[in-house]
Assembly symmetry: C2
Homo-oligomer: 91 residues x 2
């Protein structure tokens, strides 16, 4: 008997979306306040962002994957007026 295993090498894009440094982050401030109330000291600042993992098929070539992830980040996941984003490709 012959067992054939096919690995579908799907690629993963990681997208990090953060508020621009000049934009106030009340959610981060609330977390910082809670953390301090819980007794943690030496916290200078907390900022919250978003993190997305996008799994892409192998139907796209590596360059296509990078372009697609970049476009999705810019057009769907981030609001470029107030947010910065960073895309990382993992194979």
């Amino acid at each position: 008997m012959l067992l054939v295993t096919v690995y579908l090498l799907s690629m993963k894009a990681k997208v990090y979306v953060t508020l621009k440094p000049s934009v106030l982050d009340p959610q981060g401030k609330a977390i910082q306040h809670s953390v301090e109330l819980l007794g943690f000291q030496g916290i200078a600042d907390v900022r919250q962002g978003k993190y997305f993992e996008i799994a892409l098929d192998q139907s796209l070539d590596p360059k296509g994957v990078e372009e697609a992830a970049e476009r999705i980040a810019r057009e769907v996941l981030a609001n470029p007026v107030i947010e910065d984003y960073r895309v990382e490709i993992e194979e």
Copy 2:
């Protein structure tokens, strides 16, 4: 005239919180659906997580920073029942 610049070397902890793989992510599915409606193809899966940047004072030693960030992630930022977290320290 003598200008003295003091750099306060604050350390930054980055915390990534993601849903455990076995937990359904309806928000991620909604994003995947929207992205497909917008014409992007070859998207196998989208999962949304959270991302936090914690700036810590230099009053803590490097080991203390790591421990503090780990505790904040476990006790405040993530729900260990349904979420995984990862902590990175950046100097």
